[in-house]
């Protein structure tokens, strides 16, 4: 099934929560959804027989300046089709519902996005840092991140 057909079906079902469909990119087209409806949409994408997106390829956090975004790359093992979902939330309140109960693999991806970008995944069972040390400060992949001078008495910069 093509991405625009999936978009039509999702739009028909969820209405406002599905915001736009973009295929003007040179490469991948994507669907933008709102954070509120994300969990239901993901659930439907996995379970509906026409979609069957049972394989979450990747989950990436993005620093979009004003907002932070999360990008979901989905794949269906049965139908062999793909979909890119995007969601953006304001940086002041970066709350996105978790999808770890839908795809268990999202557990560590979400922890990584929290660690590096600072997206807060609501409902995640164990949202702690994964790559940086547990006492690290800041979210390193943010564009405005400033490297600390010292960590545990060790100089950070060269």
């Amino acid at each position: 099934m093509l991405a625009n057909e999936i978009f039509e079906q999702l739009k028909a079902e969820f209405g406002e929560a599905v915001i736009e469909y973009n295929d003007k990119q040179p490469a991948d087209s994507y669907v933008v959804v709102s954070a509120n409806g994300l969990f239901e949409i993901c659930h439907r994408l996995r379970d509906k027989d026409d979609f069957l997106f049972d394989y979450l390829m990747s989950l990436s956090g993005m620093d979009l300046g004003e907002n932070v975004g999360v990008v979901y790359h989905l794949y269906s093992m049965k139908h062999k089709h793909k979909l890119v979902l995007k969601v953006a939330v304001p940086k002041s309140d970066p709350k996105v519902p978790t999808v770890e109960t839908i795809w268990r693999t999202a557990d560590w991806h979400e922890r990584e996005a929290f660690d590096l970008i600072g997206v807060h995944f609501e409902g995640h069972h164990n949202l702690i840092r994964i790559l940086c040390p547990y006492d690290w400060e800041g979210h390193p992949l943010c564009k405005d991140y400033e490297t600390p001078e010292f960590y545990h008495g060790m100089k950070v910069s060269y």
Partner: protein
Amino acid sequence: MSEKKRLDLEYSQLESDRMRINVGPQHPSTHGVLRLEVEIEGEIVTEVVPHLGYLHRSFEKHCEKMTYPQIIPYIDRIDYIAAMNNEWPYVMAMEKLMGIQIPEKVEFIRVIMAELNRIANHQIAVATFGLDAGAFTPFLFFFRDREYIIWILEKMSGARLLYNYFRIGGLAGDVYPGFKEDCLNIVKQVRKTNAEVMDLLIYNRIFIQRTANVGILPADVAINYACSGPVLRGSGVKYDLRKDETYSIYNRFDFDIPVGTGEVGTLGDCWDRNMVRVNEMEQSCRIIEQAIAQMPDEGDVQSAIPKRIKPPVGEVYMRAENPKGDLGFYIVSNGTDKPERVKARGTSFVNLSVIPEISKGYMFADLILILGSIDIVLGEVDR
């Protein structure tokens, strides 16, 4: 109440004190600097909590600061065991983003290089898996062969481990004279050693006892955890990007996808995952032979690309079948010569996340084997 149920109940009341031990970051068989916090009851593992990040080298930060060609050396260092395979999805993604057509000969060389490196990777994987089981000698047999493969890769690229050979729109250099003969000799040698190791390790009775019925990963769990590569195929799922999402020229070659069969134990156990790797070496050998036969002698190894690589605004997610699974790169371009964001979907990172799920209830010694059968490389886990 049946006898078995009664015994189970009695056993559950007989719980002893549990002990938490730290496996790693310095431990002989964590394959690097992984730390597992393990809770054991006697010898039985009751909980595993992986702690990552001991090799977090800020890859994604570097990508945002580097120009597109400069990123390739950093990509080598993600999965440093299979650096050639690593570069491939990245250069493919860039070529897709910029709409570059690459010469046919380049595709052939890329296939041969990637398959050679796949063999080298699987050799390390099987060798270290044997090492985890206590067999030391197969490790050295495999490393002896790996050295011959490394020599070819070195002659092609100039480096032994981290090649920086695939470039956007082509390759760093052409093949050297005598390349085809070398490859065919390697294929022979790999087959010979595989036959030797089959006797010494794979069908060794102790080895089968250790690995069969251990760490069983059912197919649905594997898909839900987005496992890929031999880990997924070991569970019997015929999923290989080279066939399912054919990229490059893989549709021109005749090869099989080995999957786990549960030959000596249950489908999806450690032995199956390991066996998939051994069989994949044979399939890679077949691909190399066919590619050598079909490869054109003449042709460019670099297509015409602008000197300053500036892809248009856009984004692309490209993945390729790495020896460990599918490695994906999500590249967001903002129109300048540096990317807005590059996210690497580390195969090992995803595959490792299944460890807490499948290692519960097995012995502590099995945990080491389960970890070994997943074949992680910490550079890719932590990036």
